[in-house]
């Protein structure tokens, strides 16, 4: 057996190459164009798929081994959390509203990412990227399911979680994340990779998960910390895939550069707009704050993204053109978004509230240039009104941007007191957007964005009432009917946190745990 003892153990790189590369072949009974019908319509030119470098070299057996270990650990924590009523250990029940936003706005999109990466994993002609995309597809269904399983216990005890898939498709603010993923999946496979694989996973995901999960840790929610960090461990693989993909496209043909740059500009802006919701969550919804949205933005976008784009400069890639606007926006967007949700709190599936004085002091300290100057007085006034029993709700619905679908709440880059509107004409119709970034996206592909199913337009067109609704009857209350169509339970899922069922139950249950009654 000496011969065997002498045989060198295969290295990781060699093993992966033998196990994966070479599985595919150039088809001859069917043309490659028929086998890979989506490979060329976007205009990206690839000359040699074998030049693809696999960043993580996982064979399926190792994948199962490591992922199963993660799953065992995660579900042990979730079981313990449920058995021990872990939800009563969070700082206060306001925190739970951040989780509602997560389950209704993020988890169903993890699912769409799963389907989209399966498509990419079928459609690329190279075996390397295909295997990496399929593993990501598998990870994404993991994320959807572990999030649902972790938050399932919250759903049993609190409102707002109970019909997340139905709400995602219908509720006005949830069309923001939904349309983002619909947009990416309805594009071709290369744009999908720039949209989700690169822009979202590499440039922006840290801004979503790291602050969210550190926030959960600060606020005593170990179930969420565990699913979040466990999901992030896959994210490191996804980020390297996204980065490899962009390098590969740029190295294959110089003609790919302008297409890739256009997609980076588009998807960076699309993603940043969606993250407005995260900014609001960080600054307003966590009872115990980790860092401000602005700080997270500076660490994870400006510093880290700066290093990334510095590196990509050798291919001719430039920093996304929205960067100037973002530098202004980071001081404002979380406050503007929260103000909007506070006013439209009658039509949101989570509770809203105004920050306490102590919380406002924190906001002043974190936003010395803007909070006191533009927002504090208004918020203080609203809070005082609410304390006097005049909690104010806007009973109409806001106008939405044709592209990002966020209400028109953002202000002009050079005037924070002026709401920003942009307008485009297409085939004799006018379309409204919230910013130069969204207008540029609209103008580049108007035939796509005129299709947007804008929830507020649809409400006004009468398309958002339960079947059999008669709007002509006396005393017809359109908003009530829309909420019914959303499956949003008025008085339970919506309105102010103060006086909510969540607040009462949490206090009652926690009282049972801490007092002898």
């Amino acid at each position: 057996m000496d011969m065997h003892a002498a045989k060198k153990k295969m290295s990781l790189k060699e093993k992966y190459a033998h196990m994966t590369r070479g599985l595919d072949w150039e088809t001859s009974y069917q043309s490659p164009e028929k086998v890979f019908p989506q490979a060329s319509f976007e205009g990206i030119k690839i000359h040699d798929w074998d030049k693809w470098e696999d960043p993580f070299r996982l064979t399926m057996d190792s994948y199962w081994k490591y992922q199963a270990e993660k799953e065992r650990k995660l579900y042990a924590v979730l079981d313990a959390f449920a058995q021990n009523n872990g939800h009563l250990g969070v700082t206060d029940a306001r925190y739970i509203n951040a989780l509602k936003l997560f389950l209704t706005g993020i988890s169903p999109l993890e699912y769409v990412a799963h389907r989209g990466f399966a498509a990419a994993g079928r459609n690329f002609p190279g075996v390397g990227p295909r295997v990496a995309c399929l593993m990501q597809s598998l990870d994404e269904i993991r994320h959807a399911q572990t999030q649902i399983h972790a938050l399932s216990n919250y759903n049993k005890h609190y409102d707002g979680f109970h019909d997340f898939k139905h709400m995602l498709e219908r509720v006005w603010y949830l069309s923001v994340p939904k349309s983002f993923f619909d947009d990416a999946f309805s594009s071709g496979p290369f744009e999908w990779m720039i949209a989700i694989g690169f822009s979202f996973e590499y440039v922006l995901t840290n801004l979503l998960f790291v602050p969210f999960m550190s926030g959960a840790a600060y606020n005593g929610d170990m179930a969420t910390v565990t699913f979040g960090f466990s999901a992030q461990s896959d994210e490191a693989r996804h980020m390297t895939l996204g980065l490899e993909c962009i390098k590969f496209m740029l190295e294959q043909d110089p003609a790919n550069l302008p297409i890739v740059q256009k997609w980076i500009d588009k998807w960076a802006w699309r993603g940043i707009r969606v993250l407005t919701l995260v900014g609001m969550m960080m600054d307003y919804m966590l009872p115990k704050r980790v860092m401000s949205w602005k700080e997270a933005w500076e660490i994870y976008f400006e510093q880290n993204g700066g290093a990334l784009f510095g590196d990509l400069a050798r291919y001719g890639i430039t920093v996304p053109k929205c960067i100037t606007q973002c530098t202004i926006d980071k001081e404002h967007i979380s406050h503007q978004a929260w103000a909007t949700f506070y006013q439209y709190g009658g039509a949101a599936a989570f509770h809203t509230w105004m920050p306490s004085d102590e919380e406002m002091d924190w906001l002043s300290a974190k936003y010395p240039n803007t909070f006191d100057k533009y927002y504090r007085d208004r918020f203080t006034y609203w809070r005082e009104q609410a304390e006097k029993g005049n909690r104010f709700y806007t009973n109409t619905l806001p106008m939405l941007c044709q592209v990002c679908q966020i209400p028109m709440l953002f202000t002009e880059p050079d005037d924070p007191s002026q709401i920003c509107y942009r307008e485009s004409d297409y085939e004799g119709e006018k379309y409204h957007t919230c910013s130069d970034g969204c207008k540029a996206i609209f103008d580049d592909e108007p035939q796509k964005y005129i299709q947007s199913w804008l929830p507020v337009h649809q409400v006004y067109q009468g398309n958002c009432f339960p079947e059999g609704t008669d709007p002509t009857v006396a005393g017809f209350n359109p908003l009530a009917k829309v909420l019914e169509w959303y499956h949003l339970e008025h008085g339970k899922d919506n309105l102010d946190f103060e006086g909510s069922r969540d607040q009462k139950n949490f206090d009652l249950w926690r009282g049972m745990a801490t007092k002898n009654t």
Partner: protein, 329 residues
């Protein structure tokens, strides 16, 4: 302050999510149920896909098979991601220890030359067929309808990748990297493999995802797995080739397990309507012929003059299986 939260008996406001309640009532739901039912979006898509503008992102019209409720196609194994990976991790641990023992002790050197050559000629080129299985099932995951069927198809796709990698490992153990080159050459140009390659490529361009499910998961796997991992495996064991069986044990276990899942899908879809039944039966007949044609030279190499009787036994068993599922062949 330490709070012992466990001591609080509180009554939940609800047991599970509304879409699960609508299907099963307000009672505690399993992780499979919460992680599967109605997870795919069905309503209100914002943009038509650039790659298929006549349809929605998720669209029932991508198959001719029609179901009133696509979630009738449930997985009897109740695999969600965690259950799936933990089950496979257990199996891979057994496979890994077999490979380790064989490699450490040089057991492959003890194989009779004839057995080793047969494994190199028949098993190793199958890695390409497995890759085709991966592609078909990833297509279904992307374009199929309803998480109940698309989810296990991704698991199935990844299993095919794993089997392709196990078969590559068999080649490496038996004859190093040259084994993979020789298998690729046989796959591309050897007469023995051309009918199979033609068939696999033909399935790669099928558009109807349920048709792929039938062609790949029922017909191709239903006929080739018994041939390779049942009949041929028995021959290997009888002729001093237990080492080969050790390296392919995953595949025979896997075929048993996944066969039950495939059966459950076909049975429910065929029982739904006379139209589905006729459609699926026709697909089985349509794909059975080229698969048998492709397996004929392979069986001849493996079984010599017993090839005809082996193939006809396998065909009979397959036909009986389909009849039991309600198909008319």
């Amino acid at each position: 302050m330490h709070i012992d939260l466990r001591t609080v008996a509180i009554k939940p406001v609800r047991q599970t999510f509304d879409h699960i309640v609508r299907r099963f009532g307000d009672k505690p739901a399993s992780r499979y149920q919460e992680g599967t039912y109605d997870l795919q979006q069905t309503d209100i898509f914002h943009y038509r896909p650039l790659w298929e503008p006549e349809l929605q992102l998720f669209d029932k019209r991508r198959s001719k098979v029609e179901m009133k409720d696509w979630y009738a196609l449930k997985d009897p194994r109740q695999f969600y991601y965690g259950a799936y990976t933990i089950a496979r991790a257990r199996q891979q641990e057994a496979a890994e220890s077999s490979f380790e023992m064989i490699e450490e002790r040089g057991l492959a050197d003890l194989l009779p030359a004839e057995v080793k050559q047969l494994a190199l000629d028949i098993l190793v080129p199958m890695r390409h067929v497995e890759w085709g299985g991966n592609m078909g099932n990833s297509y279904i995951t992307a374009y199929g309808y309803g998480t109940a069927i698309t989810q296990p198809c991704l698991y199935h796709a990844m299993d095919h990748l794993a089997v392709a990698q196990y078969l590559s490992h068999v080649g490496l153990v038996l004859d190093g990297a040259e084994a993979l080159d020789a298998a690729k050459e046989a796959w591309m140009n050897g007469a023995l493999w051309q009918p199979m390659r033609r068939h696999v490529e033909n399935v790669l361009v099928v558009q109807d995802w349920f048709e792929i499910f039938v062609a790949q998961n029922l017909v191709l796997e239903g006929l080739s797995y018994p041939l390779l991992y049942d009949y041929l495996d028995a021959d290997f064991s009888a002729n001093g080739g237990t080492v080969i069986s050790m390296m392919t044990r995953f595949m025979s276990e896997w075929a048993d397990e996944t066969g039950k899942w495939v059966d459950a899908q076909i049975k429910v879809a065929a029982a739904e309507s006379a139209q589905n039944k006729a459609l699926i039966s026709d697909w089985v007949k349509q794909y059975r012929a080229p698969v048998l044609e492709a397996l004929t030279p392979i069986a001849a190499r493996a079984f010599g003059d017993k090839a005809d009787s082996v193939l006809s036994e396998i065909t009979d068993q397959f036909n009986a299986r389909c009849t039991k599922l309600g198909l008319v062949l």
